[in-house]
């Protein structure tokens, strides 16, 4: 206990600010996760461990989506004719 107090005495003001910032980051991270939108951001006291776990799962699923989309895009680009591909690309640029 005393050692912890001694450590915190070294950087009291900055450690308090950082604590708030960490909480802020954790709640922001929670807001980004897909399940947060389902719960309507009602739950205030979600454990950091849960948020971290959900974040890991979310990032992994996004990686898988990118992988899948890359595969489908490469198939599409191989079979699409040049002119229609160019038109599609121009259209996307103007979006």
């Amino acid at each position: 206990m005393s050692s912890r107090r001694a450590r915190s005495r070294q950087s009291t003001s900055s450690s308090r600010i950082t604590d708030e910032q960490i909480n802020d980051l954790v709640s922001k991270l929670q807001a980004v996760l897909p399940e947060a939108r389902l719960h309507g951001c009602l739950s205030m006291q979600v454990s950091a461990a849960k948020v971290l776990q959900e974040t890991c799962n979310y990032i992994r699923s996004l990686h898988r989506e990118v992988d899948d989309l890359s595969e489908r895009l490469s198939e599409l680009l191989a079979t699409t004719e040049a002119s229609s591909a160019q038109a599609a690309i121009i259209r996307s640029l103007l979006k």
């Binding site: 950087s11 604590d19 890991c56 990032i59 996004l62 490469s74 680009l77 229609s84 599609a88």
Partner: protein, 221 residues
């Protein structure tokens, strides 16, 4: 990261450039080759569109470790991507500033790790520690980050990944739609007319795009 729209547009432009580049080099390759080329374009586009963040630097560094990625990276990044042999270790910035960057990063992480010790309230427990380790592996460049910057970078990385997926999906939908139209209009002999007709029908479905008409000269291919 607030400005998602500008990020999406920058990402799309970079991605299309990358796709065209990879089509030149891998156009006749296997499906696996083409798929990795597209994935590389997407990741580089995401890093370039985001700019300078720890995770973007980490991403470029890990991509440049693969030999077959280097020519693409060199072409896209140009001057900023110096001799590959020196880059593998920390950042992809030019070598002469690498020591300064390394020193400042070490200093920053030392300071932050001192602050981290008393903050046992939010990030306490072995479970958090375990999850943090997993997260460090998932976020590019995460291994060298302290807990605070890891959270910050993760937030940024997750939003960019989401935008990447959304843009790639939109691109795919557009390509599929144009493909169907091309297949059904196969009887039309004049390709140019066909091209303009497609674009014209798209214009007519969008209201208030008069200002975009100035871009039409680009479309006569």
């Amino acid at each position: 990261m607030q400005a998602t729209k500008s990020f999406e547009q920058a990402f799309l432009k970079q991605m299309l450039l990358g796709i065209q580049l990879s089509a030149v080099s891998h156009g006749s390759g296997s499906l696996q080759e083409r798929k990795s080329a597209i994935k590389l374009s997407a990741d580089v586009a995401m890093a370039v569109a985001r700019g300078s963040k720890k995770w973007t630097r980490g991403l470029i560094a890990s991509l440049s470790k693969e030999e077959h990625n280097r020519s693409f990276l060199q072409f896209v990044l140009g001057k900023e991507f110096e001799r590959p042999a020196k880059i593998c270790h920390s950042s992809w910035k030019i070598p002469r500033s690498k020591n300064i960057v390394r020193r400042s990063l070490r200093f920053l992480s030392k300071r932050k790790s001192n602050i981290r010790a008393p903050n046992s309230s939010v990030l306490a427990g072995t479970l958090v520690e375990k999850r943090t380790q997993v997260l460090k592996r998932l976020v590019p460049g995460g291994q060298s980050m302290d807990a605070f910057s890891l959270l910050d970078e993760t937030l940024d990385y997750a939003t960019c990944l989401r935008a990447q997926v959304d843009v790639m999906q939109k691109l795919m939908t557009t390509l599929e739609a144009s493909k169907h139209r091309a297949d059904s209009d196969a009887q039309r002999p004049k390709e140019k007319f066909h091209l303009l007709a497609m674009v014209g029908s798209w214009y007519s479905t969008r209201k208030g795009l008069r200002k975009r008409l100035s871009k039409r000269p680009k479309l006569t291919l």
